[in-house]
């Protein structure tokens, strides 16, 4: 039977239109080839040490490589380090506490960055002469929002992306103001199986008034003081009155390598460990005269072997009991 001419033509047209629509849909890959919002700031972290009465100009470069114009609103927030010292928690918005009043206020007005545009943002700093020793932890945020306002009359969530740079401003009133790093916590098992590695983490605390770079190492020795492993600390900064988990580089990396992947866990693996092992931690900041020393012990015993022996003994005893009972039952049946 021949199909009517009209439906065939309609089907063909629908197929063509559908195919066209499908092909015209943007794919995720296409959508990502041009990024509308692409904001960067340099440098990401700055450490400044100033004395009361000193001035400095703190330069930042903010660049927009996206495809839409952005209104950039600079803001200053204080931050505090989290317990691990790695994450930062932004706190309340603050007025920049060390802004030089004699210079134009760079935070006063938002500015527009066109696609591909770069702006040098200079923060004039003045530490008042009556300042005491302290450390300010500030994040300078550059919030970017579309210059074109969102269309009203729609239910929507409007988004603002911000990129931030951290400023750690240390005010020193004397040379005695130095970081003082201590070993706050040793985290790791003190009793391990002989087939397990010795693993631990170290939390450092800075009780000094300004930040310091962690230096030193943790070593693992046998009871007879034979060194098995030595972990040099990654030079992380520990802020004043803050804690930070110490890190070390894997054995196959040095600070000169291009890609560094420091780890929080210090680990030593041997085929078999037995007895008492000593972990000695020597920690100081780069300017600290007397280091903080901690000694910890790890005892390795073959618990897994004990367990296997116990299981074996249990099975043997069970077997003997079972076979005795079986023999007794056979004897009874004979009688």
């Amino acid at each position: 039977m021949l199909l009517p001419r009209y439906p065939t033509s309609l089907l063909f047209q629908i197929t063509l239109v559908s195919l066209g629509l499908v092909l015209s849909l943007p794919t995720p890959t296409q959508a990502q080839t041009s990024t509308a919002f692409d904001l960067s700031v340099s440098p990401p972290v700055t450490y400044l040490v100033l004395e009361p009465g000193q001035t400095a100009s703190y330069p930042l470069v903010i660049a927009h490589e996206g495809t839409i114009s952005l209104t950039i609103t600079p803001k200053v927030r204080s931050f505090r380090a989290d317990e691990r010292g790695m994450g930062i928690q932004l706190e309340e918005e603050v007025v920049f506490p060390y802004l030089d009043p004699a210079q134009p206020n760079p935070f006063a007005e938002p500015f527009v960055l066109q696609p591909g545009e770069k702006k040098t943002f200079s923060v004039p700093i003045l530490v008042p002469t009556d300042s005491s020793t302290n450390e300010a932890h500030l994040t300078l945020l550059f919030e970017g929002s579309a210059v074109t306002p969102p269309v009203l009359g729609l239910s929507q969530a409007d988004l603002t992306g911000a990129v931030g740079t951290n400023l750690i401003l240390m005010v020193k009133t004397s040379e005695a103001d130095q970081a003082q790093l201590l070993i706050k916590k040793y985290q790791g098992p003190h009793l391990i199986d002989s087939f397990s590695p010795i693993t631990f983490q170290l939390l450092a605390k800075n009780i000094g008034p300004i930040a310091g770079i962690a230096t030193g190492s943790a070593s693992i020795t046998t009871g007879s003081n034979k060194e098995l492993a030595n972990f040099v600390f990654f030079p992380d900064s520990v802020l004043a009155d803050s804690s930070r988990h110490l890190r070390t580089l894997p054995a196959d990396q040095t600070l000169a390598d291009e890609t560094l992947e420091p780890t929080f866990t210090f680990s030593y693996k041997s085929p078999f460990l037995l007895g008492i092992y000593k972990v000695q931690v020597v920690l100081a900041s780069s300017t600290q005269t007397s280091p903080s020393v901690g000694n910890f012990q790890v005892i390795a015993l073959p618990f897994s072997l004990f367990f296997l022996i116990a299981i074996g003994a249990f099975l043997y005893i069970g077997y003997k009991v079972f076979s005795t009972k079986l023999a007794l039952a056979k004897r009874l049946r004979t009688y």
């Binding site: 849909l25 943007p26 794919t27 995720p28 959508a31 990502q32 990024t35 509308a36 919002f37 692409d38 904001l39 960067s40 700031v41 340099s42 440098p43 990401p44 972290v45 450490y47 470069v61 490589e65 996206g66 839409i68 931050f79 380090a81 790695m86 994450g87 930062i88 928690q89 932004l90 706190e91 994040t139 945020l141 929002s145 579309a146 969102p150 269309v151 729609l154 239910s155 929507q156 969530a157 409007d158 988004l159 603002t160 992306g161 911000a162 990129v163 931030g164 740079t165 951290n166 750690i168 930040a211 990654f234 992380d236 900064s237 802020l239 890609t259 560094l260 992947e261 420091p262 929080f264």
Partner: protein
């Protein structure tokens, strides 16, 4: 009467033709025996094409300083630019007898470069030599043109007179022989055709058209052959272990090659040149590629189109980098949207991206007190509580049921598509109150005095670490008709 010796035109022609042909062949024979032919397929390869450095100190250098300033007057010395040097080059600086050895640390301008140690006494005076010898091996390849018995191959390299030409100090425009006689390696024997017997290297011995040449020879016994390829493949090539490359010629232009003619000859048993070919070898400064990478952090937000597969669902809203336009929201089914976010930083401490909303979605942007606001408030789309009512801005919960009271509202999930980063949780998280279909959280609510929460982070340098943020919304049946809006802020900051 005709003269007796007169010849007819025909006779003249008949005599001239054989005479011409005879002379032609005779001339061909004479040419073959007297004129040198050319060796073919000739090439000379240098293992290091950089020129040597031969310059001098300018005024202003001081003992103990690792910053060296050289004389940049064009033509005063063969080398007049530090651009010719690269990091790691070994330099000798000073006068004869006080020459010290230094290593180039970096170059900072045309006149200035840095060395890894300070200049010593007698090594910082104006006019003191600044020398860097670039040694190179030469590989000479060719194919013979004639069979020459018991001859020799000779490689001639332009030089200056003995004394200067073999003192190990680079010469402007000429090769230096070096203080130690280099090794000439001849090809392996080719049966009885070429039986190499000796190699000889001599400094500045041969003069051709007023130019002196160092000579490197390979003598052989045997009959020789036409077309033997000493190309390093069919037969071995001739190699010279070390020559000192020329310093730049007078009026050398930086970045332009200086050309030097090297001559390859085949000599007879009585040292007569039989075949000869000249090739040019170029010597040019290394291309110095420099770039500065400042420490930085980059944050990208990318809108995604409708139909994107994110967090296990297909989105039904096209987002932009600065808005999630839900449009008309259903009261019975979820509306899903997504954005991609990416962070790159070379800060060794890594980065943190946090998120916070200014408030829950309020009608025309109105305030929504509490978090979540009371369910009876018709003018807010609250932060959702998830299937079991346990979802907060810090606690994840499964959120797949749009038809219950706790399921109504707004929230988000995360999808680390290519496992590049460390996210706070994922839509597939299957622990606690999540079963792994759409594990979600509320946004932290600034109106309710909540602090921003981390959504993804890393503790070391990051190269395009990215994920999808998946937005989900469904309105309650009691929600008043209207437009609802809030603001979500993402902060990307480096860790100190």
């Amino acid at each position: 009467m005709r003269p007796p010796i007169a010849l007819s035109h025909l006779t003249k022609i008949s005599l001239a033709v054989p005479l011409f042909i005879g002379l032609f062949f005779a001339s061909t024979l004479v040419t073959k025996t007297l004129r040198s032919a050319s060796l073919t397929s000739v090439s000379v390869t240098s293992s290091n094409p950089r020129p040597s450095f031969r310059g001098a100190l300018a005024a202003g250098n001081t003992v103990g300083s690792s910053i060296v300033t050289i004389n940049t007057t064009q033509g005063a010395y063969p080398s007049s630019s530090s651009a010719q040097l690269v990091e790691g080059d070994i330099l000798r600086i000073g006068n004869a007898g006080t020459l010290g050895s230094f290593t180039v640390a970096s170059t900072s301008s045309n006149a200035v470069f840095n060395i890894t140690t300070g200049l010593g006494a007698g090594q910082a005076d104006i006019g003191d030599d600044v020398i860097s010898s670039i040694s190179a091996g030469l590989t000479v390849r060719f194919t013979t043109a004639n069979a020459i018995a018991n001859g020799r191959f000779r490689v001639l390299v332009p030089s200056v007179a003995v004394g200067v030409g073999n003192d190990g100090i680079p010469d402007g425009g000429f090769y230096d022989f070096g203080t130690v006689t280099p090794t000439v390696t001849c090809p392996a024997d080719v049966g009885a055709t070429y039986d190499f017997v000796a190699s000889v290297a001599t400094a500045s011995t041969t003069t051709i058209n007023g130019t002196l040449y160092h000579s490197y020879e390979c003598a052989y016994s045997g009959v020789g052959a036409v077309g033997t390829a000493f190309d390093g493949t069919s037969q071995g090539a001739i190699t010279v272990s070390s020559v000192i490359n020329p310093a730049p010629k007078a009026n050398h232009t930086l970045g332009t090659a200086d050309s030097h003619n090297i001559i390859i000859q085949q000599l007879s048993s009585v040292f007569a040149v039989q075949d000869t070919t000249t090739v040019a070898v170029a010597v040019i400064e290394a291309v110095k590629v420099t770039a500065a990478v400042p420490p930085q952090i980059t944050f990208q937000i990318i809108g995604l189109p409708t139909g994107t597969s994110a967090c296990g669902v297909s989105t039904n809203v096209t987002t932009t980098p600065t808005s999630v336009p839900f449009g008309e929201i259903s009261i019975s089914a979820f509306t899903n949207a997504a954005q991609a976010m990416s962070v790159s930083t070379n800060a060794s401490g890594g980065f943190v991206v946090t998120a916070i909303e200014n408030d829950q979605l309020g009608r025309n942007g109105g305030a929504c007190v509490g978090d979540p606001t009371v369910a009876s408030n018709p003018n807010c789309i609250p932060d959702a509580l998830g299937n079991g009512g346990a979802m907060t801005h810090t606690a994840s919960a499964e959120w797949t049921n749009a038809g219950i009271t706790n399921g109504k509202g707004f929230g988000y999930s995360l999808h680390d598509l290519n496992n590049t980063t460390t996210e706070a949780f994922a839509f597939t998280t299957a622990t606690g109150n999540c079963t792994g279909t759409f594990c979600a959280r509320q946004f932290a609510d600034a109106e309710n005095a909540q602090t921003p929460v981390t959504i993804f982070s890393d503790t070391t340098v990051a190269d395009n670490e990215n994920l999808y943020v998946c937005y989900r919304i469904v309105a309650a049946t009691t929600t008043a008709a209207g437009n609802y809006e809030n603001f979500v802020t993402y902060n990307a900051t480096a860790t100190f």
